[in-house]
Amino acid sequence: MSGAAGLAWGVAGGLGAGSAIALAALFGVWWERKVSARIQMRFGPQQAGPFGLLQTLADTVKLVLKEDILPSRADPGPFLRAPLVVFVPIAVSLLAVPLSAGWAPLDTSVGALFFLAVPSVSVLGVLVGGWASGNTYATIGGLRGAAQMVSYEVPRTLSVLSMVVLAGSMRPVGMMAAWRWWWLPLTAVAFVVYIVSSIAEMNRGPFDIPEAESELVAGYFADYSGIRWAIFMMSEYGAILAASLFGAAVFLGGSHGVPGVAGFAILLTEAIAIVTLVMWVKWTFPRFRSDQLMALAWKVLTPMALVQLAVVGLVAAWL
């Protein structure tokens, strides 16, 4: 594709990814509140719509109508733009995820690399947003976030690399097609490393150290309000969606060769299972301390991923 058609496709993809994330956030927040309520002997949202499904919609309306506060100490330029710097890369990375057998919105031969590399840009948004707030809590949160997100990219990339070696392709669609059931026990370690480092990558509990509400109040987005705050939250749920869909596609075999809507339904079911697991972990475990978090990344997860890669490499050579 080139010229006008390519541009139109790009715009459509961008809008599509943006709305997908918005939808994912609407559903994700509701689902998280229901899951956490179940764990904590509560009911969660009940009043707005059936099963409280419309609760998040009401929350969104409230957030959009809220005042967009610019703190007097903040540096307006970076402060106002930082949410988008976090959001856009995550939305773009979503395009590389295969949604059904043989189809991804952005089907490229380096899709896996694209998916892992592009969201790294959002580290800048976290760092800049925290720094530009002119608030010590936000600054510490931004610094913590940057250190954490950069560190966890290493085990995350290594874990996906195992799958790349097995599949012999970096094209997510191809990786999904090449998947065999016996890879599941073989790459179990890589899957665990992928899930754990993805949770850290998206700053969720038990790795929500950058926003640690009991220490830093809300960390790098402590001073944000209204729609800008909502964009930060949406990015978090967008990252959950992207990581779960990609994990389901690459590690669990995604749609198992079923094309079209049915294949997407299979993929989505697996992804929701991963999302639920991520939420279960968050609502069960306490939070790490930042030095313990770094130790986990470099002393546990990275060696685990390396050993897995070596094992997978041997198997691939023997095949």
Binding site: Q40, Y137, S214
Partner: protein, 381 residues
């Protein structure tokens, strides 16, 4: 007291460069200050070099207010000291007044006091453990602990209509006898508690992340605990074997068989776990008390409508959930006390924060504060 939080002292770092330290103002309005504590933390990177508690945000002048009220009118004021454990302040104050006026309390009233105060200990410790969970990001622990607390608070509501400020223990006895069916409801709650507490122990204290967050954090040596006047679980977590219920027995405590859980490391983990097992011991005491309690009056006979003790003073202390709670009452022979002074365990324990925090990270500062379990109604008075 004016505190200058803008001043950034130049300090020398490990490599000999001169750097500025960052001053972080935590509180008085912050999710983890357990009320309205303010801590000025000087940090180098993430390491706290100095932590200064600033208190007084909840000062209401309760001790002074006591001087303008009759002895009975002071009871509701004592509720507002330690609002997580109002029964203790009620009881400690009443004991001091009873000592001053030589009032004999009926035995049934003593039993009821023990039962309610041990229930209060469970409720208070659940608050402490739950907020330790919230401080470390384990919000589920918080909700679980509050579920246990809720059962106890419901018992109190049935007992005296209040959930937080009871004014139930009065000079001379208690406000009213136990309602019908209350002992059965209490027994039902207490029987179910130890299993729940063990479940919470597995959820939180058995968790690897929680162990990593709490162990070795805020280590208080036994000598320091004694020297700084720490008491209650804060001191017992360091292995200081001191509990007034056993070592300076009051009321009917000598009739019960119970253990006093001790820690050995003196870190946040041991302090938290001491609280957890103390709640189990409280269940044992309550069960025994419910077995032994006999019908009878719950208030001293011939108690005057307006109490005017003879001139003099009296001091009494009890083991509250936070430690040694002492009350000093001085009378000039009139219907109002000349002076009332509370020895607050939360105040003494909080003073340790400046000693325990340096060398730890900001995240640990919050954990240490939570492990000291301050209640600011009692710190500021």
């Amino acid at each position: 007291m004016a505190v200058d939080i803008e001043s950034r002292t130049p300090v020398e770092d490990a490599e000999g460069r001169t750097v500025e330290e960052l001053v972080v103002n935590i509180g008085p309005s912050h999710p983890s200050t357990h009320g309205v504590c303010r801590i000025i933390a000087h940090i180098d990177g993430e390491i706290v070099t100095r932590a200064e508690p600033v208190i007084g945000y909840l000062h209401r002048g309760i001790e002074k207010m006591c001087e303008n009220r009759t002895y009975l009118q002071i009871v509701p004021l004592t509720d507002r000291l330690d609002y997580v454990g109002s029964m203790y302040a009620n009881w400690a104050y009443c004991r001091a007044v009873e000592r001053l006026a030589s009032i004999r309390v009926p035995e049934r009233a003593e039993y009821i006091r023990v039962i309610t105060c041990e229930l209060q200990r469970i409720a208070s410790h659940m608050m402490a453990i739950g907020s330790s969970g919230a401080d470390t990001g384990a919000f589920t622990m918080f909700v679980w602990a509050f579920d246990v607390r809720e059962r106890v608070v419901e018992l109190f509501e049935e007992l005296c209509g209040a959930r937080l400020t009871y004014s139930y223990v009065r000079p001379g006895g208690v406000a009213r006898d136990l309602p019908d069916g209350w002992t059965d409801a209490c027994r039902a709650v207490v029987d179910r508690l130890p299993a729940k507490i063990e479940e919470m122990d597995r959820l939180f204290f058995g968790n690897t992340i929680a162990r990593g967050r709490l162990k070795g954090v805020g280590v208080l040596s036994a000598d320091d605990a004694v020297a700084w006047g720490a008491s209650g679980p804060t001191a017992r977590g360091s292995g200081v074997d001191w509990d007034l219920r056993r070592d300076d027995p009051y009321s009917v405590y000598p009739r019960f068989d119970f253990d006093i859980p001790l820690g050995d490391a003196g870190d946040a983990y041991d302090r938290g776990r001491c609280r957890l097992w103390e709640a189990v011991e409280s269940c044992r005491i309550i069960t025994q008390a419910l077995d032994q309690i006999e019908p009878g009056p719950v208030h001293a006979e011939g108690f005057p409508r307006l109490l005017a003790p003879r001139q003099g003073d009296a001091y009494d202390r009890i083991e509250s959930a936070r430690g040694t709670l002492g009350v000093f009452v001085a009378s000039d022979g009139s219907t109002r006390p000349y002076r009332v002074k509370f020895r607050s365990p939360a105040f003494c324990n909080l003073a340790l924060i400046g000693r325990l925090a340096p060398g730890h990270t900001i995240s640990d500062l919050v954990v240490i504060l939570g492990s000291l379990d301050p209640v600011f109604g009692e710190v500021d008075r």
